[in-house]
Symmetry: C2
DNA sequence: GGGATTTATTTCGCACGCGAACTATCTATG
DNA sequence: CATAGATAGTTCGCGTGCGAAATAAATCCC
């Protein structure tokens, strides 16, 4: 029984996430590229020149979140903001050479993280975990849907 | 077998955590008690008068984390800081009546969250998830152990 | 065409939690 | 006893991301 085990899921999720973030932050070989920042680097690695809103959607960030992330990464010279030629409101994001290099380094770190995230679990178990995490997205939606 | 699915675990964990936090924050019936704050309320509900460091350990927070949390909750009149009679450096934390009431309300919200966290998954699957989350704690330790 | 509405992004204030450095107290050791 | 070291908390600056409100450009509709 122990309702306590279930009670703990909220907490366990929180702790696991923070531990992972902290671990990644501490192991940033290249100058200060954080986990969130590598996320954006990967998005741009696949689709350079996306709109900020698209990048935000890909990372599940709202407007203020992506805006701040872009600010910091622009200041760090990892990406560039260039006006969209067709839409005066929009900005497109482009990797700088430094950003491209940082992305390559981030991939190595990600490989290490992946090993740690799956080690000791069967593929079926990892599938359960992934399915659970994905399900939580629809279970705790952004809007205030019931 | 898509290495991409594994790649996503970092991201999925991050998103699930943020979605849950956001959802809880939006559904705070009582004045502004956040998820982190309910965590401390529950700790005090079980052991009123703990040292700040003990509370931090229970919530996996470092000194600055628990210190700030206590600051905000003290300002909100949810808890009280009282000097430890035996140790001039230490402070013990106590629930205020308002804090005790907020804790009761938080429990209702937690029940709702728990339902959403487990609904649609078998007990065995939830066990896998819980085991995975716990394992991640040792996999991404606080110290810089390799 | 022009006013209302939608859309892209920014700004503000906030909560959270980290690492590093600091202060104050307690404890151990010579 | 004095002093060195350990321990409890605080403070600072930072990155992250949210909600709400503002700005500016695009679009829709009469």
């Amino acid at each position: 029984m122990s309702p306590r085990r279930e009670h703990r899921l909220v907490f366990l999720l929180n702790v696991a996430q923070r531990r992972l973030q902290r671990w990644m932050a501490a192991r940033t070989p290249h100058s200060g590229v954080t986990a969130a920042q590598s996320g954006l680097l990967f998005v741009l690695g696949q689709r350079d020149g996306v709109l900020m809103g698209e990048a935000g959607a890909a990372l599940d960030l709202g407007p203020p979140g992506i805006s701040g992330l872009v600010d910091r990464m622009t200041a760090a010279n990892l990406i560039e903001r260039r006006a969209d030629p067709d839409d005066g409101r929009a900005w497109r994001l482009w990797l700088t050479p430094a950003g491209r290099a940082a992305m390559a380094l981030s991939k190595a770190r990600l490989a290490d993280v992946n090993a740690r995230l799956t080690q000791g679990f069967t593929e079926a178990e990892i599938d359960v975990v992934a399915r659970w995490l994905v399900t939580m997205q629809s279970r705790f939606p952004k809007g205030e849907d019931e």
